[in-house]
Symmetry: C2
Subunit: 474 residues, 2 copies
C-alpha cells in the first residue's frame, strides 16, 4: 500500500487567498444571487444542531442541477478550494463546518421527486428532498419511505451520514434504503453507482462506499431509494418497566423471537418525565418502551399480544396498546420531540447530543454504566434509544459558555464512546463522525482506518471534499 502521510493533510491552495477569491468571483459571475458571501448566511451554513464551534465557509452557492454541482467542483478543484455539501444543516457532529474555509454547496433547491416506480417500490429523487416532503408526495400511492431521523433531514444528507431512526429495526438504515446514487467525484465527473435492480453482484459496492462518507469522497446529486407498502394495519403502545435492564431483556426476547416490530424505543425515567411535561403524556416516570407493529389486522393484534406476554415475563407492563391513529401519532410526536422535551427540563441550558450503538446483549450494561456516569457528574441528561438496534442517545443539558462544562461534557462523551467500542459496538450508530467523533476512529477501527485513508487519498488526492471530517488529521 502506498505511503499515506498526506492522506488527510489540510488542503493547500496554491495561492491561498487568491484561490478562494478567484473561485468566489467566478461563482458570483455564473450564479449571481445564488452565490452569497454574507456573514449571516455563511454562519448559518456552518451552524447545525451541533455543539461544536461554528467555522463558516467563504461562500455559499445554491446549486440547481447535477451539472451545476459538477461545474462548481471542477472550478474548486482547479484552485484547490475545499467544498462542503449542505443539506438541511440538521447534522449533529459539525459535518458542515468549514475548518479550512471553502465553498458550501447548498442542495436545498434540488428538491424534486423525479420518478416514482410503484411496481418496483422505488423512486428517484434529488438530494434536497426531505423525508417528510417525500412521504407527503407518496401519500396517495400506498407507499412510504421509512427512514426517519428526528429532524426533517434531506435524503442526500441522510445518505451521506448513513442515517437511520426509529424504523430501522424493521426497515433498515440508509445503507439498506438506497439502490443507487448519482455522485459528482472530486474531479468533477458525474458517475452513477447502481441501477434499479434489487440486488447486484456486478463489481465493487460504490453505493455503500458513498453512503456514510459524509461528503468526503464526492457529492450525492441524485438518489434512487426503496419504498415500502403502507402496512394494512398499525398498532402501537407503551410499556413501563421497573428498570432499564428488564426493559432491555424484553427487547432482546422480542427480537430473538423474530417478532417483526417496526419500532421499539426506550425512554429512561428522566426522558419520560421530560416528555410528560412537554407532550402532556401522563406516563408513569419509569423506564418505558414505545412500540409499533405493522402488518395485517390480525397480525398486529397477534404481535401486540405476544409482546405483552414477553413484557410480563420480564416484570414489565401492563402494555397499553392502541390502533387509533390519533393516539399513536401523539405518542410518536412525543418521541420525535424528545430533544425539545429534554431541553424543556432546563430551558436556559445548551444541548449536547451524542449517540453510540452496542450489541443488544450489552445494551443494558452500557445504559446502566452511562446512567451511573451521568449521576457521578451530576448531569441533567435524559436517555432515549432505538433499542431494537442497540443504539441510544444521551442529551446533556450544559452551559456551552462554561469551559468547565464543555470539558466535563467532552470527557463524558469520550468515556461513553470508548465504553461502547469496548463492548464490541461503535462510537456512533447513526449521527456520523463529522468532527466530533474523529478522535475515536483509531480505537474503533485500528489499521482499517489506514485503508479508509488510502481510499480517501486515491479518490480525493488534494483533500478538497469536506476536509477535516471523518479522517483524523495526520
Amino acid at each position: 500500500m502506498p505511503e499515506m502521510a498526506n492522506a488527510t493533510h489540510a488542503p493547500q491552495s496554491d495561492n491561498e487567498n487568491n484561490g478562494v477569491a478567484a473561485v468566489v468571483k467566478a461563482l458570483k459571475e455564473q450564479f449571481q444571487d445564488r452565490c452569497s458571501t454574507s456573514q449571516a448566511l455563511r454562519e448559518q451554513h456552518a451552524h447545525t444542531t451541533t455543539w461544536l464551534k461554528n467555522q463558516p465557509p467563504d461562500a455559499v452557492v445554491f446549486a440547481e442541477s447535477t451539472e451545476e454541482v459538477a461545474e462548481i467542483v471542477r472550478l474548486c478543484a482547479r484552485y484547490k478550494v475545499p467544498i462542503i455539501p449542505f443539506g438541511t444543516g440538521s447534522s449533529l457532529e459539525g459535518h458542515v463546518n468549514a475548518p479550512f474555509g471553502g465553498i458550501s454547496i447548498d442542495m436545498s433547491h434540488m428538491n424534486e421527486v423525479l420518478e416514482v416506480n410503484s411496481q418496483d417500490l422505488d423512486c428517484r429523487v434529488q438530494p434536497g428532498v426531505t423525508r417528510k416532503q417525500l412521504n407527503s408526495y407518496l401519500r396517495d400511492t400506498g407507499l412510504f419511505f421509512p427512514i426517519d431521523p428526528g429532524a426533517d433531514a434531506s435524503l442526500g444528507g441522510m445518505a451521506a451520514t448513513r442515517a437511520s431512526g426509529t424504523n430501522a429495526v424493521r426497515y433498515g438504515t440508509m445503507k439498506d434504503a438506497v439502490l443507487g446514487l448519482t455522485v459528482v467525484t472530486p474531479d468533477g465527473r458525474i458517475i452513477k453507482t447502481g441501477g434499479r435492480a434489487k440486488k447486484s453482484s456486478a463489481g465493487y459496492d460504490l453505493t455503500r462506499l458513498y453512503i456514510g462518507s459524509e461528503g468526503t469522497l464526492g457529492i450525492i446529486t441524485e438518489l434512487t431509494v426503496r419504498l415500502h407498502g403502507q402496512p394494512e394495519a398499525i398498532s402501537g403502545g407503551v410499556c413501563p418497566f421497573p428498570d432499564v435492564r428488564s426493559a432491555c431483556n424484553a427487547v432482546i426476547a422480542t427480537i430473538q423471537m423474530g417478532l417483526p416490530v417496526a419500532r421499539i424505543e426506550l425512554l429512561d425515567s428522566l426522558q419520560v418525565k421530560a416528555c410528560n411535561a412537554y407532550s402532556k403524556l401522563g406516563l408513569a416516570e419509569t423506564p418505558t418502551l414505545f412500540l409499533e407493529f405493522h402488518g395485517s389486522e390480525n397480525g398486529v393484534k397477534e404481535q401486540s399480544e405476544m409482546f405483552s406476554d414477553i413484557a410480563e415475563e420480564f416484570g414489565g407492563g401492563p402494555f397499553s396498546w392502541a390502533t387509533a391513529a390519533e393516539e399513536r401519532n401523539k405518542l410518536w410526536s412525543a418521541r420525535h420531540d424528545a430533544y425539545w422535551a429534554g431541553k424543556g427540563l432546563k430551558p436556559d441550558a445548551d444541548i449536547m447530543v451524542t449517540d453510540v450503538c452496542v450489541p443488544i446483549s450489552r445494551l443494558a450494561d452500557c445504559v446502566a454504566d452511562t446512567e451511573e456516569d451521568i449521576r457521578n457528574n451530576g448531569f441533567l441528561a435524559p436517555i432515549v434509544g432505538h433499542v431494537g438496534d442497540g443504539n441510544f442517545h444521551v442529551q446533556i443539558l450544559v452551559d456551552l459558555e462554561s469551559e468547565e462544562d464543555v470539558r466535563r461534557t467532552e470527557s463524558f462523551v469520550e468515556r461513553l464512546s470508548l465504553r461502547a467500542i469496548d463492548m464490541g459496538g461503535t462510537c456512533t450508530g447513526e449521527h456520523g463522525v463529522g468532527q466530533g467523533k474523529m478522535k475515536y476512529l483509531r480505537k474503533e477501527h485500528g489499521e482499517a482506518l489506514d485503508v479508509m485513508q488510502t481510499i480517501k487519498q486515491a479518490l480525493d488526492p488534494d483533500n478538497l471534499m469536506n476536509p477535516g471530517k471523518i479522517l483524523p488529521q495526520s
Copy 2:
C-alpha cells in the same frame, strides 16, 4: 483523480519464474504437505462449475489461520506473485482461475464456528464454514442463517461474491447478512471492518466494499454474520400460471402488498418438466411459482390465503399449499436440484449457467424476450428465478467442445446481459463478475468503473489479488 492506466495491468513478477519458484519453495518449507504443486490439485482449484477454460495456479496452499494467510500474502507480495483465494470452488464465472499463475490459498481448513451470540442473533465464523455446516451447527439454538445459494458454498466465498439465493427476498443478500469481516490486505496487514453493533455511522463502509470484491482487494479470513430466529411456522406451496407474464404480475402484486414472502421462485415450463422428471413432482408443465411463508401459525395461514387471492386475480392457481415439513422439503430440494434436473434433460450435454437481475416491473419483459431468444437459437435452456428480487438464471445445455456452440452461447449471454442493463438492471444479480461478466461492466457502470479501478490500484498497486477478475484489463 490520479492516472489509472496501470489499474489492472497484468501483475509483473520482477523475475518472472524465479518469483513463483521462490514463493513455492518457501511455502513448501513452511507448510510441508499443506502446499502442493500436483497437476490434479492445481486443476481442481481452478475448476469450478464454470464453463470457462481451466487456468490452474502454480501451487495450492491450505491455510489454517488468519496469521498464516497474512504470511502467505506477505511472501507473495515480496515476489509479486498473484494470490487467488479458494473456498469450495462453487462459483460460476471463473472466479478461481489463475490467468497469471500464482498461489491458490485454500480456506477449507479454516472451517470453525468460533462463537454464537444467541442474544444478539449473530455468530463469528471462519471463512471455510459452509452454509449447510453453519445451519447444522445452529440447529438446536432456534436460530438459522438464511442465505442459500444453490451450492453448499463457504461463507467466505459467499461474502466475496455477494451471494444470495431463494431467501433473499425476505432476508437479503450477503451484503445484509455480514456485520463485520477480518481481512488480510494486499500488503499482508490484518484489519477488522465493523464490530458487532447492528448499525454504525463511524466511517467508510469497508465491510460492504470487501463484500463482492471477489478477492481482488484482500482475503476474508473471518466473518461476523447475522442470524435469524427460526420461524414459529412455515408454509409453502406451488402455484401454476398460464404464462410467465401473469406469474410475474402476481409476484409484483405480492411484493407491493407488503406480503412478507420468504421465498418466491419462478420455474418456466421447461424447468418444471425437468424437475418433474428429476425429482418426481408431477406438476403441470406450465410456468409455476414456488412459495414459502414464515411467521406465526396464523400469520402463514393468512399469507397463504392472501397470496391465493392474488394468484387467482392474475389468472393463476389453484395455489396448493402445505405446512408439512416433508412436502415442503421435497419441493425445495427439487428447487435446489434445478441445475441437475436441467442437466437431466440432456445428460451428455455441458452446462452454461448465467444470471441477470432487473427491476421487477421489467421481469416479465426480460424473461419473455429471453425465451424468444432461446427459441430463435434452438437452445435447450430452462429458466428459474428468484423473482421477488427480479433475478433469474438461464441454464443452457451445450457442447463446450463445439466452437460453434460456445460462440452462440457467448453471444446469447451478451444479448441477455445487455438486455438486463438496458432495462435498468444488472449483468449479474448474484453470481458475480469473475472473468465471465467483466466485458459488460463498462456498459453497466460507465465512468463509475474508473472509480472502482482507482480503488483497486490504491489498495493493490501491484495487482496481485485475484488478478484478471472484475476489472477489465486496460
